[in-house]
């Protein structure tokens, strides 16, 4: 149901993506995330076109975390920040983090080393139905994504291509 990927460049780290629909306690979850009592990044699935986009953000966040050069304070905050095409942290949270009115949430967990993934623990805190990542495209708001990323390169690649390129190259600008 969930998607787990071991990061090639950081073999001890594995990233897990969980998707929940019919969410009822978005506000409570957001509060918990802000307090730091949830072990995971809570992402607005409407802004995600493909799990690859999240993996790229997670990979970058883990890299920066390992070299101590994160721009935010926690790994999970850094994942959300990495999803944004610009360097404004609060803007990133507003656009890519969950808001109180959301009805779906994508949760990202990063597990380092031997720790077992505590998916059930996370799932129990969410008042919603866990669904497969295959349902992600149905939740994507393509118009909203295009508005944020303003891709001009429709003919040379997919929307995912332009999104990922912007994410990865943003700190060179």
């Amino acid at each position: 149901m969930e998607l787990t990927h071991r990061l090639e460049l950081f073999p001890e780290c594995s990233v897990s993506l969980l998707l929940f629909n019919r969410l009822k306690n978005a506000a409570a979850l957001r509060k918990k995330a802000m307090e730091g009592s949830i072990e995971g990044a809570l992402i607005n699935p409407a802004m995600i076109v493909d799990p690859f986009q999240v993996l790229v953000a997670a990979n970058k966040a883990v890299h920066l975390h390992k070299i101590g050069k994160m721009k935010t304070r926690t790994l999970y905050a850094e994942i959300i920040f990495s999803l944004s095409p610009n360097n404004n942290i609060s803007d990133a949270f507003k656009k890519f983090g969950i808001s109180d009115s959301d009805t779906a949430v994508l949760i990202v967990l990063v597990v380092d080393g031997e720790k077992t993934v505590n998916l059930k623990d996370i799932a129990s805190q969410v008042e919603g139905q866990q669904v497969s990542l295959d349902e992600l495209p149905q939740l994507t708001d393509t118009a909203k994504v295009k508005k944020v990323f303003t891709p001009q390169e429709e003919k040379i690649g997919t929307l995912l291509d332009s999104v990922v390129c912007r994410m990865s190259a943003k700190d060179v600008l």
Partner: protein, 319 residues
């Protein structure tokens, strides 16, 4: 495991990048070594440092007294290295990334290129080769600048609708870039050679030349100079008949609006073309014609190209 070997420059303590003017143990030691003439003798000293390929015991290339000195100041050196933390020496070559399906594609002058799967997608990893003859500070700066320029150019290309690989991840520590692998593509170089060899329809090459001209015109109109235009830096996506081109290798690229720079860019391509592929003069002519027709600023560029041609090697400068 590999040993991290480092040749120390005979720089003054002020040159130390670990804090301006701070005469750290390492730099003081360097001056001592230089004075002792050990450096002139090319003594190489292994240092226990952070990162991959971290050192073991002191290298066997060092002379007797040098070894003793090294071990004596060992703890101080390690301490200094540890202080430097992430911004440690870029001496050891980065090991190949542990990507599944990894294979070495090319060993260029600037970087080793590998293919493999990255986050589940076919990717190309460009790992920069550190040039040990350079001063480490320069090496670091140059490496970082080239990487940044490459990434910036790739992004600029894509934003302008010019086909170039997607950037997946940039590691500013090792100055490595992970980008999209254009699967089953062939270089224009290989394509031209195979068409010529099979004696087939060479008129298709004219169409290819026109496509290239159009692509380069659009790139130059964005004031983007490739810097290393050759037929092996332009890819053809499958199926080849579609003439779907992709530009790669922007390691030497830069931004410039000057007709001179654009003219030189074209000249580099022309030289590469005519030297690698015989009997392609008509093809290149078609390329230039389409370039002139597509680019809005082509007039001065073509003029400069003619000037640059006259400038080259074995050209008479009389008149």
């Amino acid at each position: 495991g590999a040993r991290e070997v480092r040749a120390f420059p005979s720089g003054a303590p002020e040159d130390c990048r670990r804090g301006a003017g701070r005469a750290c143990a390492l730099c003081r030691w360097v001056s001592v070594m230089a004075a002792a003439g050990a450096e002139a003798g090319g003594a190489r000293i292994a240092v226990a440092g952070a990162g991959p390929g971290a050192a073991g015991p002191v290298g066997d290339g060092a002379t007797g007294p040098a070894v003793a000195e090294a071990t004596a100041t060992g703890p101080a050196v390690t301490e200094c290295e540890a202080e430097a933390g992430a911004a440690g020496p870029v001496a050891a070559e980065a090991p190949p990334p542990p990507l599944p399906g990894l294979q070495l594609v090319k060993q260029g002058a600037e970087a080793h290129v590998y293919r493999g799967l990255f986050l589940g997608r076919a990717a190309v990893a460009k790992l920069r080769v550190p040039k040990r003859y350079r001063h480490p500070a320069l090496e670091e700066r140059l490496s970082r600048r080239r990487t940044a320029q490459e990434v910036r150019s790739l992004l600029r290309c894509r934003r302008a609708g010019i086909p170039a690989p997607v950037v997946y991840f940039v590691d500013y520590v090792t100055n490595s870039i992970y980008l999209e692998d254009i699967v089953d593509s062939i270089t224009v170089q290989v394509h031209i050679s195979s068409v010529q060899q099979s004696g087939n329809d060479t008129s298709s090459l004219l169409a290819l030349g026109e496509k290239m001209g159009e692509l380069l015109a659009r790139m130059h109109d964005e004031d983007l100079i490739h810097g290393d235009l050759t037929t092996s830096n332009i890819l053809l996506r499958p199926p080849v008949e579609k003439l779907d081109l992709v530009l790669i290798d922007f390691g030497l690229s830069f931004i410039s609006g000057l007709p001179e720079d654009k003219g030189v860019d074209l000249y580099v391509l022309e030289k590469a073309f005519l030297s690698t592929h015989p009997d392609t003069e008509t093809m290149f002519k078609a390329l230039l014609k389409t370039y002139a027709a597509t680019s809005k600023k082509s007039g001065p560029v073509i003029k400069k190209l003619d000037e640059v041609r006259l400038r080259g090697r074995k050209r008479s400068m009389i008149g």
